[in-house]
Symmetry: C2
DNA sequence: TCTGAAAGTTTTCATCC
DNA sequence: GGATGAAAACTTTCAGA
């Protein structure tokens, strides 16, 4: 899949879509100065190339009564196969909201989403304590999810 | 805003909407066993109560060429006002994708999204190095965003 | 009060310019 | 990139449980 060339209008549209994708093609067109059909064609290209992966509803964590936890984990052996084994184990849980392989003292950042402390215990034990090839891990409970988005910049800020 | 009572169908709908909100009301209705209008009314209630905060397009971080970084930060003074000052400073940057106040040795987890290492340097300096009342911070660059969602459970897993 | 069905309106999609 | 007609979806209204 070739990397699509993005112009100013594409960047503007991607910014709008990341903040609110429920707008109509006409409304988006008004914002960036394009006809609805032109907007539609660009969005379709975003999806075809995989740049836009999906469209989702974002719940309010507080109203949903959810408990988030940011966990840090380091593996014992560092081989490719061991990493794969660890990832497969962690990804098997639907409570794993985010999983990042990172640089530094820790190998992975794992964000867990549960319905409360009781469930967190059970899930954290299953996902991390029982994980294969784990050397050590640490858990930080989220007291306040001040901001939670998946927004990405598509070009350097001016 | 009173907490809405959610039944099994609501939980099912919320799960579907968090994974893919681009489906039609008819398709959603087929999945859970409701008419399109009934589905619509429930979704409208989700929005009115604020349980569903917004609908967004999720970009593929690799294809977007984005660089993520997970930073940990600890404040110097722990007063409410100092927390507010720190948060306001951090939230002012659009590159702050996520910000969590957490328990443990660190006060905050900050996820930064930039277009590459050059921009990351600039942004990390502006957001964290120059942050008011910061005692210390640490940065982990994301080598691989294995999973990135905002999915939340709405009820305990069986 | 909530659900389901039907009519009216808007949006989206495909084709052509 | 824009414009048009056709198809689909959404919104509103109303009747029934």
């Amino acid at each position: 899949m070739p990397r699509p060339e993005l112009d100013d209008l594409d960047h503007a549209l991607l910014g709008l879509l990341q903040r609110d994708s429920a707008r109509t093609l006409a409304a988006l067109g008004d914002q960036v100065g394009l006809s609805p059909s032109a907007v539609q064609r660009r969005i379709e290209r975003f999806r075809e190339t995989g740049l836009v992966d999906r469209t989702v509803a974002v719940l309010d964590a507080k109203r949903a009564g959810a408990l988030l936890a940011v966990c840090l984990a380091t593996l014992d052996r560092e081989s490719r196969a061991e990493h794969e084994r660890f990832r497969a184990h962690v990804l098997a849980s639907p409570h794993v909201q985010q999983l990042y392989n990172v640089t530094g003292d820790w190998d992975y950042v794992v964000v867990l989403a549960t319905t409360g402390v009781e469930e967190h215990r059970v899930v954290a034990d299953a996902v991390l304590k029982d994980a294969p090839n784990l050397r050590r891990y640490s858990t930080m409970l989220v007291l306040d999810p001040v901001r939670a988005t998946l927004d990405l910049p598509t070009r350097p800020a001016p």
